[in-house]
């Protein structure tokens, strides 16, 4: 029995200045229908490239070295498979300021997106207009319809992100990938967009992959959480369980760094940042920043093991029974 979306042992490298840099190492992820999964990690952890691999829109210098991705049983790493998958997956990007072409009216772009999804099927102008209208209404930004005649640069960031969501809705996707959908927005707008996404995925029975560096957002909107670090999944499991009892030192550090009032701050509890050499490290990728690290951590990369029901962790210290400060 295969899952709705399955990523298995994905290894991905990027060519840059004649060098080959490993970016994703052995990334696996499963997602069921109507499930909401969060991928959490800081900048450079590889979460966006994972999503782009699923959509088949990797940058030109990225190469998949091994691993499989299947969506609905179809291999998306072939050109045809990717095109087929894109019919049912829609992606929302981090910065709505750049993810919509500013030079074309909302109406014009929505109309094109709709036409591309029809594949030559004929629809009357009235049908199209009403579908565009209902998509915008679904994204709660139709208002009095004036938005249709506006240029994206005339809209606020929140409104642009709603237009982006409306474009995604036009395609009636069964999986929505939201890549940091609220990072570029102010705090009140963040909440609105997030609850809109949650509401829509429930109503339309869409699966959701939510990519975020913000654990608060992951906790509110997902059932399962994958924590990524330096291109590896270091911990995965039911969201509530991970928050209650994080097993990986990195996850623990992230959770500890959330201020109690649940403001959207993050990562500041851990010193340093992801170093390039961590990706190719002999030992654990997190060892250089880990305050629990033992000798073994510096010699071999730990494997992902199920240490609690449904909760997988890649950490020797956790395997040995928990996090104690050395």
């Amino acid at each position: 029995m295969t899952s709705f979306l399955e990523i298995n042992g994905l290894n991905l490298s990027v060519h840059s200045d004649g060098r080959v840099l490993p970016i994703l190492s052995d990334v696996s992820l499963t997602l069921e229908r109507s499930e909401a999964v969060a991928i959490v990690g800081e900048t450079g952890s590889g979460k966006t490239l994972t999503a782009r691999a699923v959509m088949g829109v990797l940058p030109k210098n990225a190469v998949i070295r091994s691993g499989t991705i299947t969506f609905n049983g179809v291999n998306v790493l072939t050109k045809e498979g990717a095109a087929a998958a894109r019919e049912h997956i829609a992606m929302i990007f981090q910065n709505p300021m750049s993810s919509i072409n500013p030079l074309f009216r909302v109406e014009d772009q929505m109309n094109d997106v709709l036409n591309w999804s029809l594949h030559g099927r004929k629809e009357t102008k009235e049908e199209k207009t009403s579908r565009i209208r209902s998509a915008l209404e679904g994204a709660q930004c139709y208002g009095d319809g004036k938005i249709l005649r506006m240029f994206p640069f005339q809209l606020s960031g929140g409104m642009r992100q709603r237009v982006m969501i409306a474009m995604a809705l036009l395609r009636k996707p069964s999986l929505l990938i939201a890549d940091e959908p609220t990072t570029a927005l102010d705090v009140t707008t963040q909440k609105e967009i997030l609850s809109l996404l949650t509401k829509l995925t429930k109503e339309e029975k869409m699966s959701l992959i939510l990519i975020t560096h913000n654990l608060g957002i992951a906790r509110e909107s997902s059932m399962k959480t994958y924590v990524m670090y330096a291109g590896r999944v270091v911990e995965a499991g039911p969201t509530a369980q991970i928050f209650r009892k994080p097993l990986h030192p990195y996850t623990k550090g992230l959770i500890d760094s959330i201020p109690s009032l649940d403001k959207s701050r993050s990562m500041e509890g851990i010193d340093g940042e992801i170093a390039q050499q961590d990706r190719a490290a002999v030992g654990c990728c997190f060892a250089s920043r880990c305050s629990y690290a033992i000798d073994k951590c510096l010699t071999r990369q730990p494997e992902l093991k199920e240490l609690a029901p449904g909760q997988k962790v890649a950490c020797y210290v956790a395997e040995q029974g928990g996090l104690r400060v050395v």
Binding site: R86, S98, I100, N101, F104, M164, R171
Partner: protein, 338 residues
């Protein structure tokens, strides 16, 4: 309406520049030379003639009065006489400008029509070889002086292709005067022999004048299109099922064209400078030939007149480019920053 405001502001700035330019020209013509009268009348004028001329210019009066007097004369068509043609230099300019205008206008049209599609096709996946061609054309086109291209074309076409239209504008009786632009006039009057002859004579100068620009525009379009494919919106539309054709020609091209249009405007204006070199090579009877003769023979009023015409042309053209950019990019039109 914000666009009206935008236009008004740009027009005002252009007017300020023109006033500044008139001050600069006034400085060059009246203050920089030790003896403007002698400079304007040439070495063969008598001392009494020079003195009379100086009185006419009001050289003894305060500077600002001189400036306004000069400006008043200038605005009333009193641009002074040429020591070479003995005619009002304004009239000389009217005779010579059309030939240059025709040359550079055809050149900028050719540059756009060849350069932009070349860049777009090179940027589309198929054009691996073509992108190398564009890059080479750009690199060499910018580095090789246009007079070298012109001389080379003359030799190659006359020796290997026995093509004789390598000098002048026309080798049959010219068409009836309508605009002063021979090629245009031969079309307007339906003069077939003149049309054929002017077309032949235009061929080589246009290549010499346009080569660098075609390379530049093709490269700019090419790299602009490639940049657009890296944009988030390009990726987003791709995930929404956009076909490459629609993405490239509708969405990417419009954004990529904005810098291209800016450069086309600058190029059009700077062609008038390159035309100086090309006209010299091809003995083209345009403004440049007139100006170079004037400079070589210290024909002062004629120099000032050509500078004014070119300056006004340049400023007006830049204004038009600004305005058309405002038209294409709604952000500029609606007064929103990027």
């Amino acid at each position: 309406m914000r666009f009206a405001e935008f236009v008004a502001r740009r027009v005002l700035l252009a007017l300020v520049t023109l006033v500044g330019l008139s001050l600069l020209i006034f400085y060059l013509s009246r203050i920089l030379p030790a003896n403007p009268g002698r400079l304007a009348l040439g070495p063969y004028a008598t001392q009494a003639q020079v003195a009379a001329y100086d009185r006419e210019l009001g050289l003894s009066r305060p500077l600002y009065e001189q400036y306004f007097y000069w400006l008043w004369n200038f605005l009333h068509g009193q641009w002074g006489l040429s020591i070479v043609t003995k005619d009002n230099v304004l009239h000389d300019v009217e005779i010579h400008f059309p030939a240059t205008f025709e040359l550079i206008t055809i050149s900028i049209i050719l540059t756009s029509l060849i350069g932009i599609p070349l860049g777009v096709i090179a940027a589309s996946r198929r054009g691996k070889i073509l992108s190398g061609v564009v890059r080479a054309l750009w690199m060499v086109g910018v580095a090789i002086p246009s007079f070298t291209v012109g001389l080379g074309l003359q030799v190659i076409s006359s020796y290997w292709f026995h093509f004789n239209a390598i000098i002048g504008q026309i080798s049959v009786p010219p068409p009836t005067h309508v605009t002063g632009m021979l090629w245009v006039d031969s079309i307007l009057t339906g003069n077939w022999p003149a049309f054929v002859s002017t077309s032949q004579h235009l061929l080589l100068p246009e290549i010499a004048l346009s080569l660098a620009g075609i390379g530049q525009i093709a490269q700019l379009t090419y790299s602009g299109m490639l940049d657009e494919t890296e944009e988030d919106y390009y990726l987003a539309l791709k995930t929404f099922g956009a076909r490459s054709f629609a993405l490239d020609f509708k969405y990417a091209l419009r954004s990529a064209l904005i810098p291209v249009l800016t450069v086309l405007g600058l190029l059009y204006a700077s062609l008038i400078a390159n035309a100086f070199l090309v006209e010299e090579v091809f003995s083209w009877g345009g403004l440049s030939t007139y100006a170079v003769t004037a400079m070589q023979s210290d024909d002062f009023n004629a120099i000032v007149a050509t500078v004014i015409v070119i300056g006004v042309f340049y400023v007006v053209l830049n204004l038009l480019v600004d305005l058309s950019l405002g038209y294409i990019d709604p952000r500029i039109r609606l007064g929103v920053g990027h």
